[in-house]
Symmetry: C2
Subunit: 111 residues, 2 copies
């Protein structure tokens, strides 16, 4: 299987996000912030998003920290935040992220 | 040591590049294209760049495919290309790239 992101189980979100990464100096805590501009889920008018699921060959990562962003009173974007609380969680996330980046044409750029 | 990129041995380039990644479907070949806008090396007037050196705790990766880009006849940017010819080379490069991204505040975005 290739890496995918879903807001609804079984339905891949096709819009590819920008992803900002932050990490504490000692490496023990980290955060990834996903920004989806006008994603399928918003275009479909679904705003009762409960979670974001990141799937790859190793399994699934989940965050419930998902918020709609509004422009002129209309939903426009989705921002999701994924927290990591150990070196192991960071490394597991980076394995997902590298697979996702590779299969979705993401590169690296200054946040 | 933290990950670094150098055009002159011993001198870290402080300008952080955008990096585009491409990979063949079967994973056997890949390429990373680095774009440095107005890097130190150009600001310093040095255009006889011979190579780009990527250093981290595992050692050094090198490419000699480094070119200056000109705008209105003046050097403005450096583009460097790093070719990978096996799964192992790709994985080694991604370990460097993840370390460099982490220490230089790079995120993921659509190329």
């Amino acid at each position: 299987m290739s890496a995918a992101i879903q807001f609804i189980r079984g339905v891949d979100e096709e819009v590819v996000p920008d992803v900002r990464l932050t990490r504490s100096q000692d490496g023990s805590k980290g955060r990834a912030i996903f920004y989806f501009e006008n994603p399928d889920i918003v275009q479909a008018g679904k705003l009762d998003v409960m979670g974001m699921y990141m799937l790859d060959e190793e399994g699934e990562l989940t965050t419930l920290d998902v918020n709609a962003k509004f422009v002129n009173g209309k939903p426009h974007a989705i921002e999701a935040s994924y927290a990591m609380n150990s070196e192991q969680e960071w490394e597991r996330f980076m394995r997902f992220m590298n697979r996702y980046a590779e299969s979705h044409g993401l590169g690296f750029s200054k946040a």
